[in-house]
Amino acid sequence: MIDKISVSIRDVTKIFVSRTGETKALAETSLHVREGEFVSLLGPSGCGKSTLLRLLASLDRPSTGEVELTLNNAGRSPVSVVFQDYSIFPWKTVLGNVAFGLRLAGKKRPEAERIAREHIVRMNLAGFENAYPGQLSGGMKQRVSLARALALDPDLLLLDEPFAALDPQMRQILQEDLLRQWENGDVRTAISVTHDLDEAILLGDRVALMSARPGRIKRIFDVPFGRPRSPDIRYSQKFSEIRQEIWASLRDEVRPAGPDAAPIKHSEPI
């Protein structure tokens, strides 16, 4: 089978102009994502990952270059996004939030709510259908945001640090949930921003590493695991080898530059 390209980012730059001056958030960035592929986007804080994702979601326009999405309309909607700060509506119940995208996609209310309920159960939120976000914990809110995006069964799913605000146990569980749902074909193509190396490798077919601001794709790593994969690959030798390799490359970007920033010798970070 010939791989179809579903996302093409070609020489995209993004410059933010404000009263205080210009910020170059993205330098010439190119990336091509195959249909059905999961790409993890890794990079130091402020390198433009969120900016790139907003360009993919058409929430912003590039300064130069172009982003092209070729989606095959296999899902219920073309693109959906899980936002870094979840952005679920305080004035809607859990059910109302999850059904929101479905209703806007043209589903009648009963149908939208039926699908929403399914995803609420999958996200372990059963019993909280009628609760307002104000009554939920941070992890629960994040799961609502995830359910809202997944319920749409998008051709392209964009995730901006979806698990960053969670405790490590919850994060691990949700990573495994997402892995399972993605491999079950609910999500077709996905690009996920993360700071978590393990998450990037566990979920991704490839890991794209960005350089410090202004960001560009510095290197792309192929993840040497097939699908479906078990969450237990985390404990394998191959996993820690690729992890080490990615970290070695990322470390140079994360470390502050300058004469004082003497290299620190330690083999395994975090």
Partner: protein, 292 residues
């Protein structure tokens, strides 16, 4: 902890800190009920003290009761006016004018304000006009209303509606602009049409601020109604106040003043009740009182 050396406490090895349910936790509903009763008492404390002082001052001749009839005299006048049916009639007429102007003015104001606050072109087009009209004293254009709408209720209702509309349009405009862009982004990602954006995002996101405008506008609606009744026509609470003054019956004048204050408190309380009903997602545990 500071413990003097040599004291018995210093000899103890450990410090024991216990945190157990306090009174609020053990008797929550009882305390809440008691607190809201106390609150009600506090609400009436200052008015009661003022009225009592006035009454006592009048008894001892420190206040001239011909010009400033004491509360007792005002109460008697109120009972008389109430008994012959005229007070209730005036209140009904005034309330009719207030709400006939307020409801359409507020409704159009909310929709229009959110519209101008959501699109920069609408903002550029309408904001200067709205701001300019808002600063014109409303009573100053009452003659204009009389010219346009003739005599009767309509010019008064129109002026109330206009005042409410302007205030609410400006509040809703600012409220819509203050909606966090993240919420708008969610709408865009999920393909919200303009009516979705309005009904499901901007309106609820700006509701709290709009309701504070709705309360202020209710006060202004009453103020404008009573003022127009003073200068034109022969009914309403405003007419009662002005007419009593011109035939020198200060007691009924005070009845009119107190009545307008009560109408104001109750109407604004009504807005707060509607707000609690509409903004159901916010924590309602705090006992907010309707009339504040």
């Amino acid at each position: 902890m500071n413990v003097a050396p040599g004291s018995p406490r210093a000899l103890e090895r450990t410090t024991r800190i216990v945190n157990s349910p306090g009174q609020l936790e053990r008797q929550h509903s009882k305390l809440v009920a008691r607190r809201s009763r106390f609150r009600l008492l506090l609400n009436f404390l200052i008015p009661a003290a003022l009225l009592l002082g006035w009454e006592v001052g009048a008894i001892f001749g420190m206040i001239d009761r011909r010009f400033f009839p004491p509360p007792s005299a005002t109460t008697i006048a109120a009972i008389k006016l109430f008994a012959n049916g005229s007070l209730l009639g005036q209140i009904v007429v005034t309330l009719y004018r207030v709400f006939a102007g307020y409801l359409p003015g507020a409704l159009i104001g909310v929709v229009f304000g959110i519209f101008t606050g959501s699109y920069w072109t609408a903002d550029a087009l309408f904001r200067p006009v709205l701001t300019a009209m808002y600063t014109v004293p409303k009573l100053g254009i009452f003659p204009l209303m009389l010219l346009i709408f003739g005599l009767g209720d309509l010019p008064k209702i129109a002026l109330v509606g206009l005042s409410v509309f302007l205030l609410i349009a400006i509040t809703a405009h600012d409220a819509a602009r203050a909606v966090p862009s993240g919420f708008i982004d969610v709408g865009r990602v999920f393909g919200a049409k303009p009516h979705h954006r309005f009904l499901e995002i901007t309106l609820p996101a700006s509701a709290t601020m709009i309701f504070s405008g709705l309360r202020l506008a209710m006060g202004q609606a009453i103020l404008v109604t009573i003022a127009t009744e003073m200068v034109n026509g022969d009914d309403g609470v405003g007419f009662l106040i002005w007419h009593s003054w011109s035939i020198f019956e200060p007691a009924s004048m005070f009845v009119g003043i107190v009545t307008s204050a009560l109408v104001g408190v109750l109407s604004i309380g009504l807005v707060t009740i509607v707000e609690r009903f509409c903004i159901c997602w916010e924590d309602q545990n705090q006992t907010k009182l309707a009339f504040t």
